[in-house]
């Protein structure tokens, strides 16, 4: 089993490299930072442009540039932005911001999604099932930025009706906030609720649909009947035997769900002015900055692949039939 997981891990490392290389190449081919420089008025002297070109390694062929950059990455140096600021420094801060949003969002999203799916399945064709179904389809078919904007409006009207700003939706903290440790935590929480909710809603919608059908498959199964026949109450049989088995197909989904999360996260960060990785990706593309783009891509690839690997581990833990 360990051998299997190790092999998978090696596969994932290779995949992450390939994904980053492709993003790097694509960015290098399309971006033209020198062109931007040349269009300045007055145009900078040719020597400056050449120096910049050399700084950005633009005088090297793309694979060589990638190797140079990657060589730095291995040593913990992600290179410089166009504005000559070290990326590594900003990476730590921004990754922290994003992971806080993503991890909380995904944990809440999966838990609530699985619960909603199970309730939906057990109460099939009843009001709560129809409600969950409609909720999921509405959320899944609404773009994230619309949901975010709606939530913002909703939060504003809640604030108005209460008469004080309880829910904050700009930035991660109040700029220039000073106070005790506890007050700072409350301030962060106030900022966190609305953006996290944006992420959680779509995650819940996504997982609850799959969990519902996985659970429905199990509901009619013979082993659930056996569990009741030996004296378990229906509720206990449903959770101990039913849900436990219905979670198996979900393990694979968790990996792919992470991709969806990052797409949603990019918009969410922008809309709520959280300066995380998603925001950075957009900044990087706007500034035609290959290094930022490649760094963010690598980060996303690593996230997706780590979750994929965790899904493998989870799958093996959940299903004795695939343990090798």
């Amino acid at each position: 089993m360990t051998g299997f997981l190790l092999r998978r891990l090696v596969n994932y490392v290779v995949l992450a490299l390939v994904a980053t290389f492709l993003a790097f190449t694509l960015a290098s081919v399309t971006f033209d930072p020198i062109g931007v420089l040349q269009q300045r008025n007055p145009p900078p002297p040719a020597a400056t442009i050449d120096a910049k070109r050399h700084d950005l390694h633009l005088d090297q062929p793309i694979p060589e540039r990638f190797v140079t950059w990657m060589g730095g990455v291995v040593k913990g140096d992600f290179g410089q932005t166009i504005a000559n600021r070290p990326i590594t420094e900003e990476l730590g801060r921004r990754a922290g911001v994003s992971l806080r949003l993503f991890l909380l969002g995904i944990t809440l999203g999966i838990t609530l999604g699985v619960l909603l799916g199970v309730i939906s399945a057990i109460r099939q064709y009843k009001f709560s099932d129809y409600f969950a179904t409609i909720f999921s389809f509405v959320v899944l078919s609404t773009p994230v930025f619309v949901i975010a904007t709606l939530l913002k409006t909703g939060a504003q009207s809640i604030n108005n009706s209460i008469g004080s700003n309880v829910l904050l939706f700009t930035g991660e903290t109040t700029p220039g906030f000073s106070g005790s440790w506890g007050a700072a935590l409350v301030d962060r929480l106030q900022h966190m609720i609305v953006p996290t909710l944006t992420i959680v809603l779509s995650q819940v919608a996504y997982y609850s649909r799959y969990q519902r059908s996985a659970m429905l498959d199990v509901l009619g199964s013979d082993f659930l009947r056996t569990a009741q026949a030996k004296g378990l109450t229906r509720r206990k049989a449903l959770f101990k035997h039913g849900l436990r088995t219905a979670l198996i197909p979900m393990a694979t989904l968790f990996a792919f769900g992470f991709g969806l999360l990052i797409v949603g996260g990019t918009f969410t960060e922008r809309i709520f002015s959280w300066f995380g990785m998603g925001d950075w990706l957009i900044t990087g593309i706007q500034n035609q900055d290959t290094n930022i783009t490649a760094t963010v891509t690598l980060f996303i690839a690593v996230c997706v692949l780590v979750s994929g690997w965790l899904a493998d581990v989870l799958y093996a833990a959940l299903d004795p039939r695939i343990r090798i």
Binding site: D222, T226, K230, G231, T233, R234, R235, R244, P320
Partner: protein, 717 residues
Amino acid sequence: MTAADTLFEPAGGSSDVGPVLEVSDLAVSFPSESGRVQAVRGLSYQVSPGEVLGIVGESGSGKSVSSLAVMGLLPSQARISGSIKFQGRELIGLSDDQLSKIRGRKISMVFQDPLSALTPVYTVGDQIAEGLLVHGKGRVTKQAAAKRSVELLDLVGIPNAAERAKAFPHEFSGGMRQRAVIALAIANDPDLIIADEPTTALDVTVQAQVLEVLKTAQEVTGAGIVIITHDLGVVAGFADRLMVMYAGKAVETGHVDEVYQRPRMPYTLGLLGSIPRVDADEKQPLVPIEGQPPSLVDLPQGCPFAPRCPMAVDACLTDEPPLSEVDNSGDHYAACIRSDELGAVEVQADEASVAAAVDVAAEVFGVEVIGEPEVARIPRDQRTVVLDVRDMVKEYPVTKGVVFKRRIGTVHAVDGITFDIREGETLGVVGESGCGKTTTLMEILGLEKPMRGEISVLGQNVSALNGRSRKAVRRDMQVVFQDPMASLDPRMPIGDVIAEPMQVHGIDKEQIAKRIPELLKLVGLRREHADRYPAEFSGGQRQRIGIARALALEPKLVVLDEPVSALDVSIQAGVINLLDELKAKLGLSYLFVAHDLSVVRHIADRVAVMYLGKIVEIGDVDSVFSSPQHPYTQALLSAIPIPDPIKERARERIILTGDLPSPANPPSGCRFRTRCFLHASLPPEKQSKCIEVEPPRAVQAPDHEAACHYAEPRQVV
């Protein structure tokens, strides 16, 4: 029974207080798109302590629904009325919490499909222990429950129980899983065990093992047992009383001997006559019950069996007859207004026996004797060889790895088999699942050069065929598949289904149009059926369509892959009779693959018994069945239950131990030796021959060969 004595209270302690289970006027209905389905309509029965009640009926007769109602396991949309009293306590209306205290402790259940009856993610031992823990909160420790579950597994005959308790269900074979489910059912020493088709999904040898285990379970717990089945054979030797169900009601009930020997309801009579018998000395035609069970959505007035009943009179259509006592016997009840007349017919037979009852069935249902094809009169060796298979081998590689597949072994699916089929002859191929029957058939149908050996169809060696000649050979060899639901395209009217093979072979349109009604008539359907879609037909009718399609090109050889195993008994008889009739009329040859030996005995002229990719015995069907030479054939035949309570109780079973070895790693020498009772009884110097030398197929009697070093005939049926 020493292990059992320490595990269970001595039976019979509280047996003097009335019936364990008393069901009265039970009715269950479900909503459906076309209206409410009245699945059970006023059912009453009782089970006394220690008594075995057999409930027999076809699919849709309400037998499973009524027992799920007893367990309180019906889906929530079911509507239940009437009364179910268990040890005097009313069960209907109890909450899930209250019922869960009775389920598994007082009443337990064994389900049909052992493959899905256990939760795949917990170990077998844990699942049994769970049943003990849930009823013994505070009293039973985890360790005690684990220890007891090992003892229970040991009791139901799982070897190395302590080790195997830690295994997951997928590591158990079907028979072992059913044993585990039985262990679970008896864990809390229940007073009633309900077994719903406990052996239907199992091979016949495993079925015999599981029935033995159920008997042991009953002996040690002293529980009353309700055994539900569609197979009159399974309950014959096991049940004390029998209840026959039809369309949601009991139509006949009584002591098992009574019901088998003097059935007083035409449906029971028909069922008895429709079963092919493995112990039949001469070929008797089977009784087909025409038509199909009624829809339970809105039943017409009168007796629900009347539309299919040969004895129906006008009075049958006015009122539904109640269960009424037969001949003041006090125990035997039948729901038929003409049951006395039926009794009068039976009295003419000099002695009451199941054989006499079958004769009465043949008379009442008016069965015609089907003749033999004309070619059958010519001696066998002078007839044309239709199919000739010599030393055919089919192996599958076992591989490991995803990107770089490496071969780590070989599955010897078919390992050198030889047989031939002559004109107008039926060869039955039998064996447990995994013995290579289906592989053999697929190899022959493929018309490709086999890995080793030779296949010739009508004198043409298939390895010499090219595209055109292969197509020509296909015309002479057609196939009927097992599952009549899946083998017809649901989007094609059946006229097109039947026309398709003729179009492929370039027969002109006019001729096809003329041929379709002919074919429909041949298989007992009507010409106006041609425009309908498969969904509008019942299982039996669909299988007839499949047969019509196979016959469209006037083949010489028809390959039948378990053609009746998916059908209900009463329908099965009609299809078997049709096959018999077509053979006589058209002079067809059949290669008939089946796991049901009784069907093979009925329809085949010769039989080949396969074990782990080899033919262990082959020959004339009467010779093989009446004096089997190979121990495997003997065990196989002895495992088949006979629908005759008296014969069945007197029979001695050869119970094979264990499961089929893996065909990837077959035993050396004789492949059967690991499970062979004869081998086990031999002195060591004789045993070594079995281990070292593979027994060749040797002639034992005219047209009867067996592959055993120590073959000797033994009568088992």
